[in-house]
Symmetry: C2
Subunit: 194 residues, 2 copies
DNA sequence: GAACTCACTCATCACTTGTTGAGTCAACTG
DNA sequence: CAGTTGACTCAACAAGTGATGAGTGAGTTC
């Protein structure tokens, strides 16, 4: 175990350890039920130190749910990201954010902003009639899949291997990429008027 | 206003008023953040009376999230129920259940049981390869739509009229009803708007 | 090596929560 | 009409919460 560290580096390491503990705790119990004391215990630290580092429980939460990468805006990469990578396991930030998005207003706002942007990107990339609506359906559908699998742990989604889920989900989700009524494989831009 | 009531009837009415207040409060803030005091205030009643009626906060919550009808098991009726009726507004029980399903273990279990059964019904009704998986995707997708619209209030899903959402969502969701590899027209209903 | 800095702990506060038991007054019973 | 029941309120408790501020001792500086 590498012990020799400068004082500032040790403080930074402690801050990170607290943040990791907070993400895990928020991710398991949500904002309301998570306590500073348990976060501190998880980080092997005094509760008051958590406050000295992050100011308040709300401030710590705001940092804990900050998502790292904005995610790809191209459709194919987006679906690969979601269906292949994120299907197996969620990052702690995402887990904490999703867990509290229905009860903590700050998390709700953050999630709404994140998904709104994702819908806008997808909608622009797809085009066609009802692009916003179709994009929103894709995004909300993936959200539902994530919740049902990782949080509710539905039988059908926890017993099946990841590959099977991705195999069945991809063509079905991809259906929404094309405008309604059209089931041909065309590229991104397409304008159809019934 | 009809005031003259027997003592038992008045007590039953008070119990119902408390239950309604509880559903509303749980539906807005979730189990953890909701307080007996606010529920009592909402029902114009002393906090201790809530306990005398329902025993504990947890017991009250357990009753508050009990869903009334089990819902139709036939596919067409199921989709009509979800896309036409429930799209506009959710019953208080459902709102309370969904709000807390990610943070309150009791709500998580209840929701999992409910959706598991719904998946089983749909899967049996559809048949074909990967029936369980396809059914789970339909169900989780509708869950995601509900959350994105009624709880996160995504722009694209709150600005569009209910009819538009149903029109775009129905054929897309219905795609999963048929086994993979088939991209024929939707088998159940027509998909052209009036 | 003495003086100082500061990451960290300890003890404690103010507050809110769910929950309890005694008391109150109108409605029912004989 | 007197006595009892019971629906309801009042006051209070124990437990747990986020947050505060004074200390303490190892690391840093000169």
């Amino acid at each position: 175990m590498g012990e020799p560290k400068s004082r500032a580096a040790k403080r930074a390491a402690t801050a990170q350890r607290i943040l990791d503990a907070a993400r895990a705790e928020f991710g398991e119990h949500g904002f309301e039920a998570a306590t500073i004391r348990r976060i501190a215990q998880r980080a092997n630290v005094d509760p008051s130190l958590v406050m000295q580092h992050y100011g308040s429980k709300a401030a710590l939460f705001a940092i804990a749910i900050q998502l790292g990468e904005p995610g790809p805006s191209e459709i194919g990469a987006h679906l690969h990201e979601v269906l292949d990578v994120r299907l197996a396991a969620l990052p702690p930030q995402t887990k904490a954010l999703v867990r509290s998005m229905l009860t903590a207003p700050e998390a709700t706002d953050s999630m709404r902003a994140f998904l709104n942007e994702r819908v806008a990107n997808l909608s622009r990339a797809m085009g066609g009639d009802d692009a916003d609506l179709r994009a929103a359906l894709i995004v909300s559908s993936i959200l539902g899949l994530t919740i049902a699998r990782h949080f509710l742990k539905l039988d059908a989604l926890t017993s099946a291997p990841d590959a099977d889920i991705a195999r069945v989900a991809r063509p079905w989700v991809t259906t929404g990429v094309e405008p309604a009524g059209q089931h041909s494989r065309t590229s991104t831009k397409r304008q159809v008027r019934p």
